[in-house]
Point group: D2
Chain length 267, copies 4
Amino acid sequence: MHRRLVSSNLRIQVSATAQLVFSVAVSAEHEPAQERLSLTVDGDPIDVEELLAPNGGRLHRAVNVPVGQLIVDYAATIDGQAPPAPLQGIDEVLYTRPSRYCDSDRLAALSGAHFDGLEGSALVSAVRAWVHDKIAYRSGSSRGVDGALDTYIARAGVCRDFSHLAIAFLRARNVAARFVSVYAPGLKPMDFHAVTEVWLDGAWQLFDATGLAPRQAMVRICTGRDAADTAFMTTLGGRTQLESVRVEAQIDGDLPSDDGLGLSLLS
Amino acid sequence: MHRRLVSSNLRIQVSATAQLVFSVAVSAEHEPAQERLSLTVDGDPIDVEELLAPNGGRLHRAVNVPVGQLIVDYAATIDGQAPPAPLQGIDEVLYTRPSRYCDSDRLAALSGAHFDGLEGSALVSAVRAWVHDKIAYRSGSSRGVDGALDTYIARAGVCRDFSHLAIAFLRARNVAARFVSVYAPGLKPMDFHAVTEVWLDGAWQLFDATGLAPRQAMVRICTGRDAADTAFMTTLGGRTQLESVRVEAQIDGDLPSDDGLGLSLLS
Amino acid sequence: MHRRLVSSNLRIQVSATAQLVFSVAVSAEHEPAQERLSLTVDGDPIDVEELLAPNGGRLHRAVNVPVGQLIVDYAATIDGQAPPAPLQGIDEVLYTRPSRYCDSDRLAALSGAHFDGLEGSALVSAVRAWVHDKIAYRSGSSRGVDGALDTYIARAGVCRDFSHLAIAFLRARNVAARFVSVYAPGLKPMDFHAVTEVWLDGAWQLFDATGLAPRQAMVRICTGRDAADTAFMTTLGGRTQLESVRVEAQIDGDLPSDDGLGLSLLS
Amino acid sequence: MHRRLVSSNLRIQVSATAQLVFSVAVSAEHEPAQERLSLTVDGDPIDVEELLAPNGGRLHRAVNVPVGQLIVDYAATIDGQAPPAPLQGIDEVLYTRPSRYCDSDRLAALSGAHFDGLEGSALVSAVRAWVHDKIAYRSGSSRGVDGALDTYIARAGVCRDFSHLAIAFLRARNVAARFVSVYAPGLKPMDFHAVTEVWLDGAWQLFDATGLAPRQAMVRICTGRDAADTAFMTTLGGRTQLESVRVEAQIDGDLPSDDGLGLSLLS
């Protein structure tokens, strides 16, 4: 895999002393050739603490962020691909549970109606195709509180909604599935992206129900149950306003070809 | 703390080969003086695998459980108390996130309306008192798919609902809180019980919004985001029917006194 | 049409002076050969007022019902059939609106996904078939607060749920549809029944998405937007407990044959 | 009461032959000194039919509206006040029922928790004050599918949400209440407005939980169960886009004084 350059820049107005957590750095299994993270308020650097989340996510927390304009600036250069995500027995149980935005328990009857009798890769392919075909990608069509059932009802959403619904369908069939935030070279318009991993044939396999970017070039940021575990910014106190988000993800050379339909390992 | 004897017995009719996961054993930080777990189908033992969940929960998984009557029988004898749950920096972030049954994002405005301006122990006391006073304990009043917002609306629930609502209120104020399933000597009628832990003053502190049993005598089973992480039985395939549940939890000597209102460490 | 004998008997425990409204009498367009209604509390008759609802429903209201056992006893003998329900221009607008249990606005995308491109009788047939085929009739599977979207999600319900979902699908396609409570000879087990009317080809045409009883023998009780308009008993103050409901509906001679699939006028 | 001049102007892009219903004309009990309604598509008049809704609303329906720019232009001059809305016994039953956006059945426990023990004018005053004090008026904060429970949870809304919540609270206490759309001189910014009528002391009495305009000057447009019955524009087929809405409502002389807290008859 060719070298990828990924970066993100957040501008946040802090109007009351705040605590913030960011998930913009690449996941711990990547070994960036170069990496840079800076947080400044009105130009002055502030302290930041790195916390390792389950599954390798690297969170960056800043407490007592003073009033002013906070800029989070991150960039990394990634060569090659990370090794496959390690398998842990407990994951097969954890990731079949319903979560905030993957309310598989409420989707049980619907998932059964659509996918009854399917198993293994046939099930995963059917789920991926259903979400891809039936859900319209529509910017701004969903709200932060919307979960998989809401997406099912609206038949529209953005990348996080596609992944939530696919995950919920799978968990409702007792298949472990999880949510992955990524940098995605080739995505248009460029933004943070969200895809799905499913435990299939003894490995975490990745698919993108939106089909909007080639999987081989993606760079993992964070892995979790759903978007609650991978939000690029979380405000835990204080008052903040996100003013702008700029994301870039480029690959040296041509984008790999990905028909977006088959299953393959992320790395 | 005096010796406690805890046990549970589940009878399950399996009508199609099933995979099941149980969370009935005491948490890993306990060191039982005696412990026994058996799973039998129509009297014959079946294989069971122990999986360690995050936060010390010990799950027992049985795959390919044949058709018949499955009996899960567990008993343990606990002397003294476990050491305090270890603190991990990441927990302060993880346990402020909304989860399936603690939908703190949807309760944000309501939690703000009730608890605006409160912090620390004053906030925790107010949350505990609100849930205790405003929610009626009513057996059978809630469904498995109900979360904290549903409990708020219904103003009634059982122990899991009390804990879910308290947790959601706290997370909505950016305070880390989590769900604990326990054996609870003194509970009437006896059953599995659910309580709440909140990160306060540098420690996980436990409270029981139902006030139905003394905290000092409780024995921890599993700790997680909400009831999705601690269900005593989960069916992951096949067809099962839970026929009976019998729980016992006794303490040598008198029950400790707990006014149910103050905060204290579980152990 | 042969003579039909319909009756109902409600036993209600009144534990605080109550106001109650009943919808058990046949609709005003019927002209019963015989009819009897009595309300007694502990054997003594109480006053009852008849109110005419929109669309011909005859409601019976009792105020200041004293503490005791209230028995509502109704019977009527119906010969022939009522004339077709009169058409009113405004109905075509009123009955396309969303109502409490026919939340057609929330089902808009789903109704579009299932029935896009269909109109007139083809649409009605498709809606009826979808509800009949995809929703499982399951006693006790729904709650009084459940509406059409809940039924869609659960894929199960009772007769009111079948009708609510059919109505909501139709309204979401801008077709006027309404809810009818009926006595239904042939229904097993016997109970109050609920069916659907749709404005098609210049007339209110009736269908029964459950297909559980022949339409020709049905006797109309009340017509409205949904079950909120046709509940057989409503408590408006006081405290009551419904202890038993007994419904009977018989026809002289054989039950008419109704394949339950085609459309036909109720009368 | 001084003369009031009310008018509205809607511009709608019709991109596929449409059927539309408008509720912009003053209610039938008003006797305008002058009144004018015109519907044109690209400047050419189109046919319009007047339908009388329950409770005096005058709906205007246009079928087969061709592609182009549809302009609905309405103006009326009102002297004096309409006689009080006539009372009908059935209304006391009809308007205690839950409706699409006044889901009083789901708010039963909450209404009981807030208003238990109150009756009559004390109840109405308490409901009005609660909604006025606890709900923040915030433009754009709600969606068209939101009902009273959603407003309760969000603690924010616009005029229709205030009225829906007040109505739902009252119905949950078995008090008849309904929704009224009005022209409201003095409202800022000027728009269609929504208020509440409650059956109290033998009359429909009006209150405005927003307190944004004096009630004496209001001119009634339409009365119904909730916003589903009074929408100023409904599209029943075809494809339309509302491009602009301009509402005006003026009174000769000074605005009457209304503290917005007491109860008074609309007229």
